[in-house]
């Protein structure tokens, strides 16, 4: 009798609950996992210095690079003179990167001494190549780039690159500079300057510009530096 009374009470309770309009609830559970993914940073700094590597430390080179442009702005280039232009690259990102130097020289007025219209030459650092750190210079694409100077002159440039063969680790700087100097040809004559200006080979104030860019690209996904940079179009900003 006791058992039967209990069952009746239970059913009555349930009927009361349902009859009162309350919805049945269900047993549930929810779990969550949050995953954070961080992105690598590919960043590079280009340093131009009067200092060749020799015994100079990265810190010394970087310190000199801070005053290089001021120094160069004060230079009045003379025939036969050589002006230091040691170009270093430092990986300031947090992943390994392939790096390259691109340099643009006004077409026609650079080249071997004695050639027509030659004003200067950019000297590569032979130690950079013989040590195996850098590839020898090669043209970028067709090699021709047109840039407009402050005087509105549209100047044709030849573009070369030197690619560092091995990846540069985060925080590391290239051991050897890719370029070493710029030399003014000894045979350059005063009267040639005006002629070159009229031909848009020099700017109206008798100056010429050499542009240097440093590029970096992630190593992940590439077998070597050359194929990596085939996937990176040059920019000129």
């Amino acid at each position: 009798m006791k058992g039967r009374i209990f069952i009746v009470s239970l059913v009555a309770s349930i009927l009361t609950i349902v009859g009162s309009g309350m919805t049945l609830s269900y047993f549930t559970d929810t779990k969550k996992v949050e995953n954070k993914f961080t992105l690598g940073q590919v960043k590079v700094e280009l340093y131009e210095s009067r200092l060749a590597r020799g015994d100079n430390t990265d810190a010394q080179i970087i310190a000199d690079a801070a005053t290089y442009q001021d120094w160069l702005n004060g230079v009045i280039a003379m025939p036969g003179q050589t002006y230091a232009k040691n170009t270093y690259v430092k990986n300031t990102g947090n992943v390994d990167a392939y790096v390259r130097i691109r340099y643009l020289m006004p077409a026609t007025i650079w080249g071997n001494y004695g050639a027509d219209h030659t004003v200067f030459n950019v000297i590569r650092n032979e130690a950079a190549i013989s040590s195996g750190e850098w590839n020898a210079p090669s043209l970028v694409g067709s090699g021709d780039v047109y840039l407009t100077n402050d005087f509105g002159q549209r100047i044709r440039y030849n573009e070369y690159q030197m690619i560092r063969k091995v990846p540069l680790a985060p925080g590391a700087m290239s051991t050897q500079p890719a370029l070493s100097s710029v030399k003014i040809v000894p045979q350059l004559k005063q009267e040639q300057i005006d002629e070159y200006i009229s031909q848009n080979l020099l700017a109206k104030d008798g100056t010429f510009k050499i542009y240097v860019f440093a590029d970096a690209i992630q190593t992940a996904g590439f077998n070597d530096a050359k194929s990596a940079f085939e996937n990176m179009a040059p920019t000129y900003d």
Binding site: G3, D29, N35, A220, G221
Partner: protein
């Protein structure tokens, strides 16, 4: 005469006793049964492993370039050691529950797979990420897994390089979000959710059959998180990191005839 007096005295004695003490006592007995009602519960664990259940469909001993394939592993799954196998139609090689659980235990360990691969990602990077659900409760439950992908990064994270498990969608797992995605020119998901300041696309994966107590889902609903190799610095400008969230829901199977109805009730109750 003496006997009658004695009897009368006895009766009078008893009557007096009763009147002075109250109710008469009776011989009695009591028997009892204790009824214990065990309340059911619905509890799950959500684990993550780098192991795709069938190792991207690559047989033991073979190699692959698939981002879902884990090298150096031998799948040892058999029907005997994978309780839920009976609920799957997959007939090939697969990782056992034990292999997946063991991997999950170290998945986020210091210097483990996740920490190594989810840090400093660049375009082309991929992290294997396979969520599984274990029923740790007492009742069979319907299971749903949801993947939340940041909406603003969808094009470079999910729209191609990151993958849900297509085989699962042909073998007992349904996704309304994937159906919508395929029908709407791959334009993300029609369901979004805001967590903090970040808005996410939500991709749902509902398992057709209830998961029994102690069992683990056979299929991983998702396979990896990757960054498109064509992503540019502009695409990822101002992005130092991003979050991908996995959520798993469970609801009692009792009272429902199918998973769709169960989760309609779950969502109504939430």
């Amino acid at each position: 005469m003496k006997k009658k007096i004695l009897a009368i005295s006895a009766v009078l004695g008893i009557a007096a006793l009763v009147l002075s003490m109250g109710t008469l006592a009776y011989f009695t007995d009591t028997d009892s049964e204790k009824n214990t009602f065990t309340i059911g519960n619905v509890k799950i664990d959500l684990i993550e492993s780098q192991l795709h259940r069938v190792n991207a469909g690559v047989a033991n001993g073979a190699t692959s370039t698939s981002p879902l394939w884990t090298p150096g592993q031998t799948m040892s799954g058999t029907e005997a050691n994978t309780p839920d196998k009976a609920n799957s139609s997959w007939a090939g090689q697969y990782f056992s529950d034990e292999q997946i659980k063991a991997d999950a235990d170290t998945y986020k360990a210091t210097d483990g797979y996740y920490e190594t691969n989810a840090t400093n990602m660049v375009p082309g990077s991929s992290v294997r990420k396979a969520p599984y659900v274990i029923n740790t409760g007492k009742n069979a439950a319907y299971i749903r897994v949801r993947a939340l992908i940041p909406k603003t990064l969808f094009a470079v994270i999910d729209n191609g390089p990151s993958m849900w498990t297509s085989t699962a969608l042909r073998d007992g797992v349904k996704s309304k979000a994937v159906d919508w995605y395929n029908a709407n020119n791959y334009a993300g998901s029609n369901v979004t959710k805001k967590v903090g300041d970040i808005e996410y696309y939500v991709f749902d994966f509902t398992y057709d059959k209830p998961l029994e107590p102690g069992a683990m889902t056979f299929w991983n609903a998702w396979g990896n998180i990757a960054i498109d190799k064509k992503a540019t610095s502009e695409d990822l400008k101002n992005v130092d990191s991003f979050d991908v969230i996995f959520e798993a829901d469970a609801i009692q199977a009792t009272g429902f005839t199918n998973a769709e109805d169960a989760f309609a009730a779950f969502d109504a109750q939430s």
